[in-house]
Assembly symmetry: C2
């Protein structure tokens, strides 16, 4: 299989890690995805990993001349939808950074391209689903560890550091709720299996260290089907002194138990044992390898295109709720 990589901005490491266990996938071409995007770092990494792809001057040339079977897309965030749609229209499978779009119009355009593409497949880089703690928790929840889910609270907390120019403009960045929050919004949907009904949200650019329009903090409250509710807390205020870059958490409250992920551990309280149980972690799976196996072996990738589209829609509606300070209802 022939692989192209477009862009060097998002989680290209997912592709690199997956390629190590995919000897039949050959990296044939790389290009920038966005105007002004440097891919020097990408070129350095692919050479380190022993690949020798052709460098194309833009993504259209890559798509048309390298003729990949699959492309990975991870450029400035407002270009994800456009590039993914161009690939799908050529029947090329797409592994694309989240959020898959930064506007509802672009999202509709991408969904249309996907639905018209016939056999081409798509997954978004919701890689934290594959983190051993999150994956272990998912199996536990699906096996009834907490009974019917009633509440979820998810947290994303990152160090801010110094971010590139495209983070500082809503137009290229899309917002902190879609960029950072999309993981947490994905989790509350993925674990509960419920549909979003309404969202209220807030965000603020205060204390963003000179990062222009980048929102440093955000919060969302989703009401969901079956009277399930979820809150999401998002911030870039994790101190440099913290032991890790990120502090990903979720607390899942069910009618028969409560499960938490914290510090890469899965903690469960239910009727089966007294006190707090710490679940043994399942081994790590590579997201890109999982997606390629769906294409080559017909297995089912953990991230469906419907999930990618739906969670992106939820993020974008939350941005509107925060911008306009009103409840947004899902159709």
């Amino acid at each position: 299989m022939r692989l192209g990589i477009i862009g060097s901005t998002g989680h290209i490491n997912y592709v690199m890690n997956g390629l190590r266990e995919l000897p039949h996938v050959h990296l044939v071409g790389v290009s920038a995805g966005s105007l002004g995007e440097s891919i020097d770092n990408l070129i350095r990494i692919v050479h380190q990993e022993g690949h020798s792809p052709t460098l194309y001057s833009n993504f259209i040339e890559l798509l048309d001349q390298a003729k990949p079977d699959i492309v990975a897309v991870a450029c400035y965030f407002h270009d994800h939808a456009k590039i993914a749609a161009e690939a799908l229209r050529r029947g090329i499978h797409v592994f694309v950074e989240k959020p898959v779009a930064t506007s509802l119009e672009d999202l509709d355009m991408l969904k249309e391209a996907y639905q018209s593409s016939g056999q081409a497949q798509l997954a978004a880089m919701f890689g934290i689903r594959y983190d051993p703690a999150f994956y272990t928790a998912w199996h536990a929840v699906k096996n009834g560890a907490v009974g019917r889910i009633r509440l979820l609270h998810a947290q994303k907390s990152y160090r801010l550091g110094k971010r590139g120019e495209h983070f500082t403009s809503r137009q290229t960045y899309g917002g902190t709720i879609p960029w950072v929050g999309s993981h947490a919004i994905d989790w509350v949907h993925w674990y509960s299996g419920e549909r979003f009904e309404t969202v209220y949200a807030s965000h603020s650019t205060q204390d963003n260290g000179g990062h222009g329009e980048l929102e440093t903090t955000a919060m969302c409250l989703f009401t969901m089907s079956n009277e399930v509710s979820a809150t999401v807390s998002i911030d870039y205020l994790r101190p440099t002194a913290a032991p890790t870059h990120g502090d990903d958490r979720i607390r899942i409250t069910g009618a028969e138990g409560i499960l938490e992920i914290r510090d890469q551990q899965v903690l469960l309280i239910n009727g089966n044992e007294s006190g707090v149980q710490m679940l043994p972690l399942l081994p790590k799976i590579e997201i890109f390898a999982d997606f390629v196996r769906q294409i080559t072996e017909g297995s089912v990738c953990l991230v469906s295109p419907e999930d990618a589209f739906y969670v992106t829609e939820a993020c974008l509606r939350a941005v509107i709720a925060a911008d306009e300070k009103r409840v947004i209802r899902f159709e």
Copy 2:
């Protein structure tokens, strides 16, 4: 000083604990507060503690015949405001269970009674402020441990057990957001010092174990002044197997640090030390004793009447937001 106790339903233990360090306060009378309320338990406890109050057949008789200087009010929740107001109108100081009212009309009536009462003082039973972890955290935050506060997430999680009849009707209970959530809503206001601007909320009676209209779960999102936001998660789904009855938490995210209370510990990350610091806890103070000292010594009780009224208002607006599925704006 002469003390009366009206009702046996809420946190009368705060009064009993305080009395042990207040030899000049004499419990002269007790009565039920609400129709159908048993005070057998109260009578048993006060005798155990060595008090011999007169038993009055209703709270009006207690107020008029026992002539207390202070009353503690903790009956069915919809009667708090009415009884507190009757006491204030007689110039009697009031230590009242939260929420101080279960409707905005009753709250206005109580505020009016307080403002007209002249010297009579009031505090609400926001006793968790005095819990060593919460009190230690408050001092740390006030001393700048996290810099400017940007986000807060507070959690109340209780075992449900089997609750009395007055919990099963909105009319007598007032709702889970005011009863359980008022603590968490108090914290986000108390720590941040910000004013509430809008609230969206949800609640559900599902899986309430036959407790009628009692909401088992609730969530709120408050936007506050200075673009601060707060979420609150409330549930009665803490499993019997859990190590404790309740799981009170708060996470306070500031521009210069993050502080958390969890498992009665105060955890802080900021620029002062590397990694996570566990703060040494301040000694416990008794809330009722603090209130009595405000009356007798002119010190300042940690819970002001303005806080009690304002937090109750926030709770009641959150109930309306959840009932009507819309954003409520504060005036």
